[in-house]
C-alpha cells in the first residue's frame, strides 16, 4: 500500500494496464514526452515507447476519431481530452459514432475506448476548463460515465473502464487531483462500474452526490450531526451512467428523505434524473420532496466569483434543514 494522490492513482492505473495489455494505447495533446498538463502520464512514453504513448495534433475531434478507428481495429485506446470543456469538438465522434458502434454493427464491432478528461471548479481555471458537462454525456445510450471522488476509487474504476469492452468517459475533478492522499494498493484491482457507495451511514436523510461534491456533502453531514444531532447518510454515485438506483432506493427506504447535490448547474448534471428515479421507485417511502442542491443556471462563472457560485457545506445544511421541516 502507498499513500497516493488521485492523479498518482490514475497514472498508476494506466501504467499497470499499459504493462498488462499491449493493445492498450494512450494518446492526446501533450501526454507523451511532456507527461501531460497535470502529470497524469508522466514517464509513460519513456517506459512504453512512442508507439504506445503518443502526442496528437491539437484537434479533439481527430483524437476521438482516432480512438474510434483504433478501437475497431482491436486496440484499447485511452484518449485524453485536455479539459472537459473541449468535449464539444469531439461530441460527434463520442456520442454519434463510438457510443453507437456495437448497436449499429449488430455486435460485429465495439469501441473499448476510455476518454479521460479533467474538469471541475474551485481552482480558478480560465474559461471553459471547469464546466460540469457530464449531464450531456449521461444522456447518450451506449456510453458509461464515471466520476471518481478519491484516489482508491479512481484507480479501481479506471482499470475497470480500460477493461470494459464499450466506451467509458472517465471524468477527473481537478480540485481532487492533489487535495488529499489515500491508501491505494500497489497491484491492479477493479472497482465495478455502475455501483454507488455509501460513504457515511445515517438514518434521517440521504445525500446523493458525486465528484468533489461528495466531500462537501460529508463536511455538511459531519457539521450537521455535531450541531443538530441529526444524521445524514451520504452516497457517492461513482458512476453517473448507469445510475445505481438500488443503492439509492435502499437508503431512501431507510431515511425517508433525500437531497441530491451536484456541482453542475441546476438543470444540467444528473440530479433531475436521480430525483425522477426516486419518485418512480420510492415515493411511498418519502416524507418530503427530494430537493436538489446545485449552482444557478448560469454560464460557469468567472474565476473570482466561483466560490460564491459553487455549493458549500453551509448551503447543503440549509437544504437539509428545509427537507427535515417539510
Amino acid at each position: 500500500m502507498a499513500q497516493l494522490t488521485m492523479i498518482q492513482a490514475i497514472s498508476n492505473a494506466m501504467d499497470l494496464e499499459l504493462g498488462r495489455d499491449e493493445k492498450v494505447l494512450l494518446f492526446g495533446e501533450d501526454v507523451g514526452q511532456s507527461g501531460g498538463v497535470f502529470r497524469a502520464t508522466d514517464g509513460l512514453q519513456k517506459k512504453y515507447g512512442v508507439e504506445r504513448v503518443f502526442d496528437t495534433p491539437l484537434a479533439e475531434s481527430g483524437i476521438a476519431g482516432l480512438a474510434t478507428g483504433l478501437s475497431i481495429q482491436g486496440f484499447r485506446p485511452i484518449a485524453e481530452i485536455q479539459f472537459f470543456g473541449f468535449v464539444f469538438e469531439a461530441m460527434d465522434e463520442i456520442a454519434g459514432q463510438a457510443a453507437r458502434m456495437r448497436y449499429r454493427s449488430g455486435g460485429r464491432y465495439s469501441c473499448p475506448i476510455v476518454y479521460r478528461a479533467p474538469f471541475g471548479g474551485g481552482v480558478k481555471t480560465p474559461e471553459l476548463h471547469a464546466d460540469s458537462l457530464e449531464g450531456v454525456l449521461a444522456q447518450m445510450p451506449g456510453i458509461k460515465v464515471v466520476v471518481p471522488s478519491n484516489p482508491y476509487d479512481a484507480k479501481g474504476l479506471l482499470i475497470s473502464a480500460i477493461r470494459d469492452d464499450d466506451p467509458v468517459f472517465f471524468l477527473e475533478h481537478m480540485k481532487l487531483y492533489r487535495s488529499f492522499r489515500q491508501e491505494v494498493p500497489e497491484e491492479a484491482y477493479t472497482v465495478p462500474l455502475g455501483q454507488a457507495k455509501v460513504v457515511r451511514e445515517g438514518k434521517d436523510v440521504t445525500i446523493i452526490s458525486y465528484g468533489a461534491m461528495v466531500h462537501t456533502a460529508e463536511k455538511a453531514a459531519e457539521e450537521w450531526a455535531k450541531t443538530r444531532g441529526i444524521s445524514a447518510e451520504v452516497i457517492d454515485l461513482r458512476t453517473i451512467r448507469p445510475i445505481d438506483i438500488e443503492t439509492i432506493v435502499a437508503s431512501v427506504k431507510k431515511t425517508h428523505r433525500a437531497v441530491v447535490l451536484q456541482e453542475a448547474q441546476r438543470t444540467a448534471g444528473i440530479a433531475a434524473e436521480v430525483v425522477a428515479q426516486i419518485n418512480e421507485q420510492a415515493i411511498f417511502y418519502l416524507e418530503a420532496p427530494v430537493l436538489r442542491i446545485a449552482p444557478p443556471d448560469t454560464i460557469y462563472p468567472f474565476a473570482m466569483i466561483e466560490d460564491e457560485w459553487l455549493p458549500t457545506p453551509k448551503r447543503v445544511m440549509s437544504a437539509l434543514e428545509k427537507v427535515m421541516s417539510l
Binding site: K203, F284, Y285, L286, E287, A288, L326
Partner: protein, 52 residues
C-alpha cells in the same frame, strides 16, 4: 420513528405528521397495504388502532 415498511404518499405522511400521529401505528387499507388519508382520519377519530 416511522417503521420501514409503511407505505404512504408524501401527502398522507405530511397529513399524519400534522395530526401528530405515528403513521406506523395505522392499519393501511389502500393497495398493497398503503396508508390512505382516510385511514389517518379514522385513526385520529379513535376508530382503528390495529397494528399490523
Amino acid at each position: 420513528s416511522v417503521a420501514h415498511d409503511v407505505l404512504a404518499t408524501p401527502g398522507v405522511r405530511k397529513f399524519a405528521r400534522e395530526q401528530h400521529v405515528d403513521i406506523s401505528q395505522i392499519h393501511g387499507t389502500g393497495a398493497h397495504g398503503k396508508v390512505t388519508k382516510e385511514d389517518v382520519a379514522t385513526f385520529v377519530q379513535g376508530g382503528d388502532h390495529v397494528v399490523v
